[in-house]
């Protein structure tokens, strides 16, 4: 018999997003049909097949990281992560002394850290001999002008490293570099770790920054970016995603632990399901998506018909939207749940995206308002049977939700949550 994921609750939530740093505001702005997508002005986007991005605005790393030496070694994604972790801890009233350091864990989903190759250009130039790279020259002439801490800036687990020290979180931890499923896997695995008794409290979530030249180049060459002014999930005009930045973290603990310290529960984590698409390299396999949904329902012990809202991945990729719509239809049946998606408003912040969706899902539960799918006006045929929330927010008491996210390697992850 599979083990049960019992009585693990979310008691705090912190976000850094293109629609602000307050989860309530992010949700309200999505309900108002707002998008953060705006023309790229930070650099010349001409070479890329995209003109828009969802940037985090008005964010200052120094507001969140006191140690200036450390701040210099932190990429934007790391700074967002630390800010969201601090906001989550604050939201859960997780102050020093609430939990013993060795019982406080941290599970992080992180993006691809390219290691700041641009910082190496002067050293590489010194190593050029007759138009060719010379390793000996690189070592003797180039290396001395490289920042000795260069390697540290490119570590993929910097959010975990710095934030665990900041919060004295000495317990079980993880850092997943797993594309778009990082956030929900971090939250789901953290929930299981609490259920296993390995920690009293775990801070879990993800941060990522896709609005930069490296990601626009990589995703652009893979042909997954939208040329439009926003992502359009499930819309006939969908043509890919708009890159975004962001971070979302959550505080998880057992219901008993939360009660003993008087912490309020935002939701219970009921289940997680994981599956992998084995066809092609873009993950467009409805069977894998259904398997992830079914896994999350099975662990929760719920019938598909009891779900009120699906927070879809909805990345606006024509093939993926069709596959996901098909999987939702086949899993939840003809009179299925309301379906919403947030990438039209928030862009795709890759690792962080599922976390932002979870934050939106918590606000949806709290307010009883389901945000419309920003960017959607005319649904694709594959989505005709779905109850898509279009144009206006919908009032609906939400008891049970499922959040879905997917990665570039075909990873797919679904999380079920229940209102307190």
């Amino acid at each position: 018999m599979p083990a049960e994921l019992k009585d693990v609750v979310i008691t705090g939530c912190g976000v850094v997003s293109p629609l602000g740093l307050d989860p309530g505001d992010v949700h309200a702005r999505l309900c108002a049909g707002e998008t953060a997508s705006a023309p790229i002005t930070a650099f010349d986007p001409t070479p890329f097949p995209a003109r828009h991005a969802c940037a985090v605005r008005g964010f200052q790393g120094k507001d969140w990281v006191e140690n200036r030496k450390n701040l210099k070694l932190m990429t934007p994604a790391v700074q967002y992560g630390i800010a969201a972790i601090r906001l989550a801890a604050q939201s859960a009233a997780l102050v020093p002394g609430v939990v013993a350091p060795e019982r406080l864990g941290m599970f992080v989903g992180a993006g691809t850290a390219f290691g700041e190759m641009g910082d190496l250009v002067p050293a590489l130039e010194k190593a050029m001999v007759d138009g060719h790279h010379d390793a000996r020259r690189f070592a003797t002439e180039g290396m001395p002008i490289v920042n000795p801490l260069w390697l540290l800036k490119g570590l993929s687990n910097n959010v975990l490293g710095y934030a665990s020290a900041l919060l004295d979180a000495q317990g079980i931890n993880q850092n997943y570099c797993n594309s778009g499923v990082g956030a929900l896997q971090a939250v789901g695995e953290a929930a299981w770790a609490v259920a296993e008794g390995r920690a009293d409290v775990i801070i879990a979530g993800a941060s990522d920054a896709a609005f930069n030249v490296e990601h626009l180049t990589g995703f652009g060459r893979l042909g997954v970016l939208s040329a439009g002014d926003r992502g359009r999930p499930f819309d006939v005009q969908h043509d890919g995603f708009v890159v975004g930045d962001g971070a979302a973290f959550f505080v998880l603990e057992s219901a008993a632990h939360a009660a003993s310290r008087g912490a309020r529960s935002l939701a219970r984590v009921a289940g997680m399901g994981n599956a992998t698409a084995l066809r092609g390299l873009s993950g467009c396999d409805p069977k894998a998506i259904s398997a992830a949904f079914q896994g999350a329902l099975r662990v929760a012990g719920w019938a598909p018909t009891t779900i009120d809202v699906v927070h879809a991945h909805g990345n606006g990729n024509p093939r993926y939207d069709a596959a996901e719509a098909g999987a939702i239809a086949s899993t939840f049946g003809p009179s299925g749940p309301a379906v919403t998606a947030d990438k039209g408003g928030l862009g795709h912040s890759i690792s962080a995206a599922g976390g932002l969706s979870l934050a939106v899902a918590l606000e949806t539960m709290r307010t009883g308002r389901i945000a419309p799918i920003v960017g959607l006006t005319r649904p694709i045929p594959e989505a005709h049977g779905l109850d898509l929330v279009i144009e206006a927010p919908r009032s609906h008491a939400v008891k049970r939700s499922i959040i879905h996210c997917a990665g570039l390697g075909g990873q797919t992850c679904a999380l079920t949550i229940e209102a307190p």
Binding site: G131, P148, Q174, N175
Partner: protein
């Protein structure tokens, strides 16, 4: 969790500097042979460290179809080691229900080798931004990602279940195996292919770790350079390779008549919550990690017959780890053999946790404990039995394998002789 599922190891495979399979790697370890040598892959004569443990043997692997092009060195190491583990487990393609079969990998993002980066830099100068964008290989962004080995293994072996990638530097594959254990126990899969891979002997890593002062500079004696726990140790030695294990729920292994190598008994994990590159001198993180593994496994310190140490040969790690071993195992620590096989194959970073777990499995199967090569001078801060110089015949029923890393994550795996 009283009737908790038992998880067994039914297949092992590795690629290391000592050999491109388990048999040759193990033979090298038992013979006390060093794979450390002057770097041949590039001209390292100008670097502060000019030696490393390279994988030199040809990989026993041909990737099928397009995967021959959709790969990079770290994924090739992974594919070769995983193929050996799957064959060793007697698992033919299609032998496991795809959605009950998952992959968990410890890996880090890779980067093109420096001559290629330099070449591109040149080309960039001579072309328009549009031409430069169009010249980027579309598959590179995906293939270089940390999660790509997990994607590749899922495709090659038909694993449509949970797909996880852990990136916590030197602790990555201890945690990826630990995650696989947790996934199997709770019933989210019947079989997990778990391990790690890393490719390190290239200019950037030799520079990056060198600039941090972490590498041994014993250029006049490469084979004597890695001397874990020896008083005259001066840093670690880069290695590379991959290790994979087939982990299986006991009833699944029994039902298919699989040969069982050992039982994976427990997983422990902690964070130093200290600084990015070093650990607290009292070894508290190492102690907590080992204590959690023992508790998870239901073991007492006196049950442990062998510890495969992280033992990097840095001043700081080896002293801190020794303190942690004493903290976790108490008086028993002084009579338990502790060895570091990094003394022979170098530091495999994201792969070391899995490869060293395989070393522990081999110690249980053969009754031989591999030595710590080059240990000659006692360090008061390292007062344990480090099995110096020569392998030792000794029955091993229970072994612990430690891995600690940059960023502060610590992982310990407990493995034992299988008893029905």
């Amino acid at each position: 969790m009283s009737a908790r599922a038992r998880i067994v190891i039914t297949g092992i495979g590795c690629v290391t500097p000592l050999g491109a399979n388990v048999e040759r790697t193990w033979a090298g370890l038992v013979a006390g042979r060093s794979a450390v040598d002057v770097i041949r892959r590039f001209d390292a004569s100008g670097f502060t460290t000019q030696f490393a443990a390279e994988v030199k043997e040809a990989l026993p692997l041909e990737l099928p179809g397009r995967y021959a092009h959709w790969s990079d060195p770290k994924s090739e190491f992974a594919a070769a080691a995983a193929a050996e583990a799957m064959a060793d487990a007697g698992l033919a393609p299609g032998a496991v229900d795809p959605f009950r079969f998952g992959v968990s990998v410890g890996a880090e993002v890779s980067r093109p080798d420096l001559p290629i980066v330099a070449e591109r830099l040149q080309a960039l100068r001579a072309s328009t931004p549009e031409q430069a964008f169009a010249a980027v290989d579309p598959k590179e962004f995906l293939v270089m990602s940390a999660f790509y080995p997990a994607t590749l293994l899922a495709h090659l072996h038909g694993a449509a279940g949970p797909n996880l990638t852990t990136s916590t530097a030197c602790t990555s594959s201890a945690q990826s195996v630990g995650d696989a254990l947790r996934v199997l126990r709770r019933g989210d899969a019947d079989v997990m292919l778990a391990g790690g891979t890393d490719r390190l002997v290239e200019e950037l890593m030799v520079m990056g770790f060198g600039l941090l002062g972490a590498l041994s500079r014993r250029n006049d004696d490469p084979q004597g350079a890695c001397r874990p726990f020896d008083r005259t140790r001066d840093g670690f030695v880069l290695g590379e390779g991959a290790g994979f294990l087939v982990l299986e729920r006991l009833e699944h292994a029994v039902a298919r008549g699989a040969r069982i190598h050992a039982e994976l008994l427990g997983y422990g994990c902690s964070a130093n919550a200290w600084r990015i590159t070093d650990s607290p001198p009292d070894g508290r993180g190492a102690r907590q990690s080992m204590q959690m593994a023992l508790q998870d496994a239901g073991l007492e310190p006196g049950d442990v017959d062998y510890v495969n140490a992280h033992g990097t040969s840095t001043q700081q790690n080896d002293a801190s780890e020794s303190a942690g071993i004493i903290g976790a195992l108490g008086d028993a620590a002084y009579r338990i053999p502790v060895s570091s096989t990094k003394s022979m194959m170098g530091h495999l970073v994201a792969a070391c946790g899995a490869v060293e777990l395989i070393v522990c499995v081999q110690a249980i199967r053969t009754g031989i404990i591999p030595p710590t090569l080059n240990w000659q001078h006692r360090d008061p801060a390292c007062p344990l039995d480090y099995v110096p110089g020569e392998a030792r015949a000794s029955r091993v029923d229970v072994a612990l394998s430690n891995a600690f890393g940059f960023g502060g994550s610590n992982g310990t795996l407990a493995v034992g002789r299988f008893q029905a």
